[in-house]
């Protein structure tokens, strides 16, 4: 970390440094030097900071700005760079880094949508989640929430065929319009209500015959403003939203945010609670991957597979239900441990599941993976290279299918993952088939973890004593966990009160949707379904 600080200090002499609550180095650099610093960091010979984890926009009332979390895939070193926007509150601006990391284009749009910070030279400065005629920037502290300003309208949404680009010429910011599609493109609208978009995602697809020329992704059809809602809730209350983002990774997300709060509060969680949490994580991973396989096969036309995979999922939901009392929104992990102790026959149920799992996996392979049509549909379709996967932040099974070992359970072993014996599944091909197969591999690995723990759930308390009113000390924290669909980051900034000043959820699904255009262009419409399905995004997760 020390040499990282030296490196940044050499590149940007005006930088100031501090260490945040989670031990990540944070450099504050002037906005003018940011782009050059970013380029130097990314192009570093030894440890290139090639993975832009997330961009956290923030409103510090007196100023607006962003915190960029960067990671090097070579030595896992991580740092964050805080950049305060130039300009006044009306038009704050920062130089775009979308030319360095592809995913920055989407992340910057998100920050623009929430905070109104303009990114100079970003090729697509439209709002990401909200309508183009939305008044105000909702995550600013002075945002007026009066529903009369932005009323609910049943009028068709206004939309533009142009996007805006801001450039800087002679010190002045110039706004330019750029057409999204060519004027004689045949544009097919897919979604938001479409059976294959897995929710309410919308693609405007320019096609030439059946070949895709360009895709424009529209999100925000399920944008529920969770981050803003969290700012008015107490810390324990913020947890319950996480069940409703990626509703398959609810357990994992809960786990992640609890880890962050516990770190901030210096709470030591009992071993029993840790084991239970990890087991719940892995169970939900199996359930999630099962549903993925089912819906993916259904997208490809093999409906029957869904019913076979849901069989296993129902069995897991039964295990959850006995302990948590719900089938989907568990609200199980809490600050200090878990809500209730596990059901008496939890271990027996898990063992029963582990027994039937291998036979089921064998059946799935027999029905679908070995099928010649499935092979033709998936092999070599939508190839994503490792470099692009990193540049587009494609983590999780999709990233690992491109050969990028990005499992946060291995990179930053949290909870008890460091002691467990499991492998990180990586496949080099990067096509849809690899993305599909990696899910099966991961089910096997999760089963392996469960098998190690099921007989070794230690006795002890399931939840340690936590103060009635949770107050985080002043500071900021960042925590990464491995959700079912990739790395999920949580950023919390506290001013010492009972409510967070800023809670940012960096979901794995937003980059997954961001990469769709890159890997579908030039393929057939049917491949859009194959590729979109294999990326396995959950729309409420990306929209939040």
């Amino acid at each position: 970390m020390a040499n990282l600080q030296e490196k940044i200090a050499k590149l940007s002499p005006a930088a100031t440094f501090e260490i945040d609550g989670t031990g990540i180095l944070q450099a504050t650099v002037p906005a003018k030097e940011w782009h050059d610093l970013a380029k130097a960091l990314r192009d570093d010979k030894e440890t290139p900071m090639d993975y832009l984890v997330t961009i956290v926009g923030a409103d510090w009332v007196e100023s607006l700005g962003c915190i960029y979390y960067l990671m090097s895939t070579t030595d896992r070193s991580m740092c964050s760079v805080k950049v305060v926007a130039e300009g006044d509150r009306e038009t704050p601006y920062i130089d775009s880094v979308s030319d360095l990391w592809h995913i920055a284009e989407i992340y910057e749009r998100e920050v623009y949508d929430f905070f109104g910070i303009i990114f100079i030279n970003n090729k697509d400065m439209r709002r990401l989640f909200l309508n183009i005629d939305w008044v105000g920037y909702p995550l600013r502290k002075d945002y007026d929430e009066d529903p009369a300003i932005n009323p609910i309208s049943i009028e068709n949404e206004r939309q533009s065929d142009n996007t805006t680009v801001y450039t800087k010429e002679d010190g002045k910011i110039v706004k330019k319009e750029r057409a999204i599609f060519h004027h004689d493109d045949f544009v097919v609208n897919i979604g938001p209500q479409h059976p294959a978009t897995h929710g309410v995602l919308r693609f405007r697809t320019a096609v030439d015959g059946e070949t895709i020329k360009k895709i424009d992704v529209y999100m925000g059809y399920i944008h529920r403003g969770v981050e803003k809602l969290c700012e008015s809730l107490q810390y324990p209350q913020t947890l319950h939203f996480l069940d409703r983002l990626d509703y398959f990774s609810g357990q994992v997300y809960h786990h992640g945010l609890c880890l962050l709060y516990e770190k901030a509060l210096n709470i030591e969680v009992s071993r029993r609670a840790q084991v239970i949490r990890v087991m719940m994580d892995e169970l939900s991973r199996i359930a999630s991957h099962c549903l993925f396989m089912g819906t993916y096969c259904m997208d490809l036309g093999a409906t029957t597979m869904l019913f076979y995979t849901l069989r296993v999922r129902e069995q897991i939901l039964d295990i959850f239900e006995k302990t948590c009392g719900a089938r989907m929104t568990f609200n199980y992990a809490c600050i200090g441990g878990v809500m209730q102790d596990i059901a008496p026959d939890f271990a027996a149920d898990v063992k029963a599941l582990l027994e039937v799992l291998p036979a089921n996996i064998k059946e799935y392979n027999k029905i679908f993976t070995g099928n010649v049509i499935a092979k033709n549909r998936m092999e070599g379709v939508g190839v994503l290279s490792r470099e692009d996967a990193i540049s587009y932040d494609v983590t999780g099974p999709a990233g690992r299918a491109s050969g990028w070992a990005c499992d946060m359970r291995k990179l930053f072993p949290y909870s008890i993952y460091g002691e467990l014996d499991f492998e990180q599944c990586v496949r080099p091909e990067g096509d849809s088939m690899a993305r599909f197969k990696i899910h099966i591999d991961e089910i096997e690995q999760s089963a392996k973890i469960l098998a190690q723990l099921v007989d070794n759930i230690p006795e002890g308390e399931y939840c340690v004593k936590v103060p009635k009113v949770v107050k985080l000390p002043k500071g900021q924290w960042f925590q990464l966990v491995e959700g079912c669909r990739g790395a999920c980051g949580f950023y919390v900034e506290s001013d010492g009160s009972t409510k967070p000043v800023r809670l940012k959820i960096a979901p794995p699904c937003l980059p997954l949707a961001g990469v769709v255009e890159h890997i579908t262009t030039g393929n057939k419409i049917a491949d859009l379904i194959t590729i979109g399905g294999s990326l396995d995004y959950i729309v409420p997760d990306m929209d939040r």
């Binding site: 529903p147 049943i154 925000g220 529920r224 939203f241 849901l310 939901l317 089938r327």
Partner: protein, 198 residues
């Protein structure tokens, strides 16, 4: 008149007063024997063949998938023919949050459904906005956007609750009148008058 569905005893339904009230209202205008039996035939067809529109925005949609799966198997009741095109569907299971940006799309889907069309508000988000009610970008219930026939509470509702909800809808259809009397079309016009499109 006991309105029930096959293999569900009348007493198993919770809000029979409502249905009885509805029957009373409808029968006030009197029933012609021939027209009445026609009505019965039509309602038999409609109440037994409810095709949902595949429409899901969030968590409740996954429970709707579970509803179709082998364990709960909505095919038993003939509801499994989920149509992706609103023109061919009978009812809309609004499974999930409806946000501002989705409202026009949702309303359009409702308008595209062919008569007779029904709406089930499924889950607390669709009923009232649920946990996201205070958000800047969430519709506080879909009742202001489209007329709703059945509310199924829960977050998300269990598949059993969804089955019960659709059964209630089918019960409501069973007492409808196609010829004269209380007509859905009129009710809908009233609704549209109360919630005009600018």
């Amino acid at each position: 008149m006991e309105v029930t569905t096959k293999s569900m005893p009348y007493s198993a339904f919770k809000d029979n007063e409502y249905i009885e009230q509805l029957v009373k209202e409808i029968q006030e205008s009197g029933t012609n024997v021939i027209v009445g039996s026609f009505d019965k035939l039509i309602n038999w067809g409609r109440s037994n063949s409810l095709w949902p529109l595949t429409f899901a925005t969030s968590c409740c949609g996954i429970e709707f998938v579970s509803l179709g799966a082998a364990r709960f198997d909505m095919a038993r009741f003939g509801w499994e023919v989920a149509r992706a095109s609103p023109r061919q569907a009978d009812f809309m299971m609004v499974a999930g949050t409806i946000v501002n940006r989705m409202v026009p799309v949702f309303r359009r889907l409702y308008d595209q459904l062919a008569e007779p069309k029904y709406v089930i508000a499924c889950g607390s988000c669709a009923i009232s906005g649920g946990p996201f009610r205070k958000s800047y970008h969430v519709a506080k219930g879909i009742e202001d956007i489209v007329p709703v026939d059945v509310f199924v509470p829960g977050c998300p509702p269990r598949p059993e609750a969804m089955i019960y909800g659709i059964m209630q809808l089918s019960r409501k259809i069973k007492v409808e009148k196609f010829f004269g009397g209380v007509n859905r079309q009129e009710k809908q016009e009233e609704f549209l008058k109360a919630h005009p499109i600018d």
